[in-house]
Amino acid sequence: MTTTDQYEEERLHHTPWVEKYRPKNLDDVASQEHAVAILKRTLATANLPHMLFYGPPGTGKTSTILALSKQLFGPNLSKSRVLELNASDERGINIVRSKIKNFARLTISNPTPEDLANYPCPPYKIIILDEADSMTNDAQSALRRTMETYSGMTRFCLICNYITRIIDPLASRCSKFRFKLLNNDDGLNRLKYIAEQEDLTLDQEEPVLQQVLDISGGDLRKAITYLQSASKLSNSYDEHQEISGKLIRETAGVLYEEIIDELVNVIKGKNHTQISNYVNEIILQGWSIQQLISQLHDKLILDDSIDSLTKNQIAINLFETDKRLNNGSDEHIQLLNLSLQISKVM
């Protein structure tokens, strides 16, 4: 085996499942019937508007546009007709502008007769701007003009999580597609499919895949990644270990339910020494407090034994703590404060 082959093999081996199991065509895209239906129609006429895909992460935005361009151009032509740019990669105005301009200016490559026979091959190029909401306003305004200048032979597809972060003039030039959170069954089916393909040994005692989906909060990309990490860890043992809920949680950095339960208990106990001690223990265990807060939120807000006024106050405290953590403050102090504040209102 030559070195290059070996590399190729290793590269394949390292391909994230997220890439490996990307939908190959629009029909494979899970859960987004509405968007898919419209896009299919444009496929028929091969007339594409500028597009803006928005919605929570892991709902299939990138997959959809990639599948669409494959169906438009076929695998060969895609290479010269589609530019995928990650806006957060290099977000300066100049880079965005020059990269896009250079690509947009290129003359349209000619499809081979073979491609023409199998694919619509419309006479334009597609520029995909992933994470467009992380572009600065300046870069976005610059983009607006670029879009107009090259609209003759270029279609843009902006992808973002928050449509409010796209400036109006830009948004108004695009047809908007909202991608909704994956419904549970679709997500579960996709995970099942992957588990079968990869021949995973799952713990039969518990609904592992459902847990994976729960932990990732409907983000299919996350779910697939967690599954891959867990399988990697379990595979490396000599005697293949089953993939269990606990293993998934550990690879996802999610706290065990028992810890959250115990914390709530201690908080309810209102003894500040105990609270302080347990908080210290959690810190020494190395858990991510941001993660803890989101789990604590789910726990307390769904707890029917707490009245809504209390929940209200708890929510404010959670919000405040989350904000402070985002500002880079100390996890120990913030968690202690949060626990004491909640114990005060409960």
Binding site: H13, R221, S229, D238, G253, S288, R324, N327, S329, D330
Partner: protein, 360 residues
Amino acid sequence: MSLWVDKYRPKTLDQLLYHDSITQSLKALSKSGDFPHLLIYGPSGAGKKTRIYCTLNEIFGSSVEKLKIDVKTFVTSSNRKLEFNVLSSPYHLEITPSDMGNNDRVVIQDLLKDIASTEQVDFNNQSSSKTKHRFKIVIINEADSLSRDAQAALRRTMEKYSSNIRLILVCNSISNIIAPIKSRTLLVRIPSPSITDINSILSNISVKEGIKFSSNDLEPFYTKVSTASNRNLRRALLSFETLTMQNETIKPETNLSIINLDWEVIIKNIANNIKTARNVATLAKIRTVFYELLSHCIPARIILKTLLFNLIEIIPDVRVVQELVNLASVFDERLSLGQKSIFHLEGFVAKSMVTIDQYN
């Protein structure tokens, strides 16, 4: 003669004494031939670095212990020269991005690109070599202090060079690590060792070093040392060695005040001052002490935290505790947002005095 903390540092995974399941995982991973990028996190003194080096040893053999240090220079866009240390063995490199300030993105990108391109050549030349791993490990310390820019760049780099570079990111908390990195690395959490874990390590060393004690009931003594070290193994070992150095025979029941760190004692005194003399003159005095601590590179955040925990220890009133912790959380955030920490430290102290007065 080396320090115990070095002398008794495990060199291989088999020598590791606690967190067995993690050790198992690391062992399995290093054997598997499909070594992923790792994100290793946990409190300081939990043994993150020790475990990493043990894992490297498992993969590449003991030559990873042969470290050399290089000083690389980097010229920023504003033409300032930056220096940072690169610690390396034939199989790995180790960097600490906080040395690089705001330029971490460029520096790391350049460095990794460099390694990736030279390694490629090396592998081609030594295709017959026995080493089955054709990648080099890059350890990035304090990964949580990487700018978001640098993290975003790392994410790309991880994919680009995945054939010949494996990253091991090390940090205390993953809260500041961006999601794409978390999803591209295998998370390994290393909790602090338990009191029992530390106690048994200390007692092992006592036996090996032939330490003399005046009594036989040592467990409470070890526990004191472990607790005072806040379960930081490095600190526990250093303080234990210091204690044994002071006397031929250790009297476990004696005062162990020597194991309290100098700066911690200073902060404790501040707390006592706040409790006993809540007035403006004290504020001015404490300010000078803060400057003293800051001038010794004790991070403001640690000063604030240590002060808070000292205060709530000596003022047990639950209402006061609640208020003080709340104040600390406010001023702690300001430490992040602001420029000069002295304002926030003194602000916290002044407000604390008022709070204590209120409930007195």
